[in-house]
Point group: C2
Chain length 371, copies 2
């Protein structure tokens, strides 16, 4: 028999059908609807398939026909190395993967390089929907996703008309945290935050920069903080806010160093993430500052390491964020998306977790509002 030996993918559903002398439908049914043909015939089909080296229906062709790719795309901020090191981001990814796994749907990480205009990757992704997580609100990739005629869920992004959204109430959470510190008596504070925009600025962030930040979460946390403290008479323009582009313990430490060098009077450092706070903790220790006696430090996110360190922080259910987003996307009852009237906004609960890194400042009198 002169059949080619190693020319893969020479066999196709049609050629198999021809070889067998049956119709394409029958072969298709052998794979997709076993109940639609006799077991014997099915066996014959499958056996011949094996003999011919036919690997089963081509997934892409099937997707084109059925209009289902069997995967959803995940658009993450910038370099993946960051995403894979950040526990909060990982939690989201895990939650999403779990939801998709339950539905037998794949999760495709769509490469989205920062600077490049290679929005093409978004256009080329064969997926049934997108989840967009924590990208700057002016990211061209986000725009490209919105262009695609598939349902999209955004996580931790500003509300967009007609687009489902999952996020905690960052503003409320931050307000609660702020008042925790305010009630303890802190008025001289400093802030550490993550990158505010796509351009790198490792150092103090002006109020203008804070308000114009393109990372929605950071912007919200900062402006909420400002409002809370201004409500009790603190002039926000005097509050030092140090920004870091990279999100690591070391950068948190160096940011704290920069902050404390310039503002030794601060009694509390509020960080917009646990990672930064943990780094700040290291720096405090290095300087011989006792926490919380000499300095209070707070985080945000509630990652495992924070709990271990008994950090005062805001816990947010990161895994739940991913899972909700996945469920929203996969929910078969929610057809007709893109319709503003049918938009879902899911707000997740957060929880202030008071650890051992916050206490009244040494010199200030306390302001108790309670009994």
């Amino acid at each position: 028999m002169g059949r080619p030996i190693r020319t893969r993918r020479q066999a196709t559903l049609a050629s198999l059908a021809a070889e067998l002398g049956v119709s394409r439908t029958t072969v298709s049914n052998a794979y997709n609807r076993p109940d639609q043909l006799s077991p014997e015939l099915r066996k014959r089909v499958l056996d011949t398939a094996r003999k011919l080296g036919y690997p089963g229906p081509d997934p892409v062709a099937r997707s084109l026909r059925t209009r289902k790719a069997g995967a959803i795309g995940l658009l993450l901020t910038e370099n993946l190395s960051y995403a894979f090191r950040d526990p909060a981001a990982l939690g989201v990814l895990e939650g999403l993967a779990l939801a998709c796994e339950d539905a037998g749907v794949g999760v495709q990480l769509v490469p989205a390089r920062p600077g490049e205009e290679d929005v093409a990757t978004v256009h080329r992704a064969g997926v049934d929907g997108f989840v967009v997580y924590s990208v700057p609100d002016d990211d061209p990739h986000l725009n490209a996703v919105l262009q695609r005629p598939v349902p999209t869920v955004i996580i931790d992004q500003p509300v967009l008309s007609g687009v489902d959204r999952v996020a905690p109430d960052d503003a409320a959470a931050m307000t609660t945290l702020a008042y925790h510190l305010i009630e303890l008596g802190h008025r001289e504070i400093g802030v550490l935050c993550m990158r505010l925009s796509r351009d790198r600025n490792d150092g103090f962030a002006s109020r203008d920069r804070q308000e114009k930040a393109h990372y929605h979460v950071q912007r919200t946390r900062l402006t909420t903080l400002a409002e809370s403290f201004e409500a009790v008479g603190v002039d926000w323009s005097t509050v030092p806010v140090v920004e870091r582009f990279e999100h690591t313990l070391d950068e948190g430490a160096s940011a704290a160093r920069q902050l404390l060098d310039a503002n030794p009077q601060v009694t509390a450092i509020i960080c917009t993430s646990d990672i930064l706070a943990l780094g700040a903790l290291n720096e405090a220790q290095r300087r011989g500052l006792r926490v919380p006696a000499d300095l209070s430090i707070t985080g945000f996110d509630g990652i495992a390491d924070a709990e271990r360190a008994e950090l005062t922080t805001v816990y947010q259910p990161v895994r739940e964020k991913g899972r909700s987003a996945g469920n929203l996307l996969l929910d078969p009852t929610r057809r007709g998306q893109g319709n503003p009237l049918n938009q879902q906004i899911i707000t997740l609960e957060t929880e202030l977790r008071i650890g051992k890194t916050s206490a009244p400042p040494r010199t200030a009198e306390q302001h108790w509002f309670g009994p």
Copy 2:
């Protein structure tokens, strides 16, 4: 104009061409080969596209035509929650993602539920290749992947004829580690290992079970260990090996507890992963055992937390594993895969890292082989 308002995806390349009065080729070129038509015409095409709500060429149809999906599939062991919590697995994922990002290719996490025979997810994944990482060697999903007519790279799996493979030399690494302990004088040892097969067995693992383990890495590490110690007169059948299905610090601790309760005489616990070792460290501390004075503990992998704890361990470049696998898959010069003669086997370097958790046993004389 009676155009439907919200019936998404009504516009197609063909309808756009018709509307414009040009050929489909021209429209296609407007998107894929801008240099093949005048800027004016291109602009007109794009403008009309926007007006008609045409979102650009359909990715799936394009994939069918070009025979390129623009993504590679990743088959991971079992539940993702495990993969996303294990630093070694994450390193692999990160490395792979990095390599793919550089090539503008997506990474699709293919859901592969443990027990289920839902190999369908593998058959349905529209990808240009697969990376398989650390699944049991009898996993049906692996088989399904091998069936697909696309290139595949396996990581940390037994060598398979004609399939590219990336892995460290686990045997050599474990031998080196074993001799480190042997030279220190340890003869009474115990072992903690990860799951050996798909069936759960939290407890002692018989030698038979060790040798028949379906997780290649675990099997290799254990059998190598056995050989090394038998070479210096230790009867391996007397060496307690405790297995754990879940891979967490707590399970490591509980495994150590089980081991030490039954075998208080051991002077060293060798763990097949850092996580287990770190858990064992916790348990030692809980019992008031000093490490390494009273008990030596070693890990395997070289994750960040191990370094922080100054654990004696074997470092392996996990990120590099993922990256090499990705590069192998994406290398355009390596066509004609599946050919045994063209098979690539990449062996990664490992490094014994002696930390502060290994020292001579208290009571034994030391056996120096050196000067």
